[in-house]
Amino acid sequence: MAVKYKAAGDISLLIEFENEISEKVNAKVRNLYLAIEKNCLVGVEEVIPTYRSLLINYNPLEVKGTTLIEKLKDIESRLEEMDIPKQKVVEIPTLYGGEFGPDLQFVADYNKMSAENVIKIHSQGKYLIYMLGFTPGFPYLGGMSERIATPRLNNPRIRITAGSVGIAGTQTGIYPIESPGGWRLIGRTPIKLFNPDRHPYFLLQSGDYLQFTAINETEYNLINEQVDKNQFQVNTTLL
């Protein structure tokens, strides 16, 4: 299927791939995103990769829209020849249950299994980070097992602590900053997905993978202390 180039106003361009959420389509988005970044096109100010499209913000005083489209099409046609880095798997240590995951037992009861099994299934998966959006650093993750799928809360919580790990339907995710929300909370990570006092400010990149690893309270406190001192390094491996 042909890639679509569309104007999104006079300072943005939309590049669309197939109309579906799939790892295959998202990989095309990631590859094109990395290739555009590498080519440093004149006038391109920002590239926002999502499930199946890229939004390009540009300065029309620096580059004509038609010229930019030609250059982007050229990059897209040469993607195969380009050296695209491998995807990373980022480990997110998570303390499941208790006050940190008040809905863990509900998720277990709803799916007729033990809380231990929910933890096991949840921390087994490698989740593709399809995109980041909604709040600063929030990852849209794919690939959670249907076996632990649980509907959202009827009454969303007004305040959810940053780092909370939740489930909504067949989705799972992490709240990067304190916010309201209706997801079932099963745990919490001491890792900050967004920290303006750290480089890089954002821990995750779209196109990479994320894996939860279960930790106990002692480990949680230890990591938390290191995070506060900006000393904690997350484990990453290449896929």
Partner: protein, 342 residues
Amino acid sequence: MDAVKIIEPGPLTTIQDTGRKGYQRYGMPVAGAMDLFSYRVANLLAGNDDNAAALEFTLQGPKMEFLHNAVIAITGAETIPIIDNKPAPLWQTIFVKKGSVLSFNGIKSGLRGYVAIRGGVEVPNVLESGSTYLRANIGGIEGRKLTSKDIIPMGDSIEGYPGNPQPYILPKDFIPRFNDTEEIRVILGPQEDLFKKESIKTFLNSEYTVTTQSDRMGYRLEGPTIRHKESPDIISDGIPLGGIQVPGHGQPIIMLADRQTTGGYTKIATVISTDLNKIAQLAPGKKIKFKSVTLEEAHDALRIQESIVNSIEKLPEAPSSKKILKLKISGEEFLVTIEPID
């Protein structure tokens, strides 16, 4: 360090610059001044670069005391600024003495005003920007709107002003006028093909009213219902500045400075960048008529606006008795300085 003391902040006064660019891929909204034209002009008239942090107020200007001599400029909404009980001009350089108090007597037209101060507001940058983003409590002063008794630290002000200070005045023709009904130019898309054809006509031929549920994040409008061919939802994608989302209820929402970076509602059209400044000045109850234009027309409008902004930097430093006029002779435009001869 030079500083300004806030006596009364007004309902919503924040520190803004051109915004937090480059982090939308991580889900970080841009924020920044809503009316970028007025904001940039204020800075240039105050002798700053056009991206220095300045005050943006909504509905009512702040009352503030200058703790040092200062060079300032006030732009944006048509307000009545008062400095030490005397009316002060808009859209020009103003020299303010230490201890002076600036206040505002309401707004005649428009909604948002800008106070730029020579030297710029000195706030710690968060992700390379001083802009306040209220929803994540970052930028500006502790990520919040200003309150009374806030002391706003400034960069070097009048002491650093080069030479004998002379006011810059923006020629009258360049001063934007804010109306009760604004024609807003849009480029259709990126998802106009998901709407019924007659609904595109409805969108372009009707008046939409700005509702009270409008803020720096987005303007919710009310008017004739716009219908989708099938679903109002798409797979979430990036939201451009000025993107007009239409959820299932068929009423448009214009996404502005504080918009979230991604969303799943279909976008019928996108407001062109120059006309976002007009939207920023529309209070609830005001009306919008959308007009579809081409990309070329939008870029022409942008170039004209840019030439106005650039012309400010080139204005001569004139004594206060001088007037700068823009004249048109046989279709050609001239900037002319008129001054009395002794």
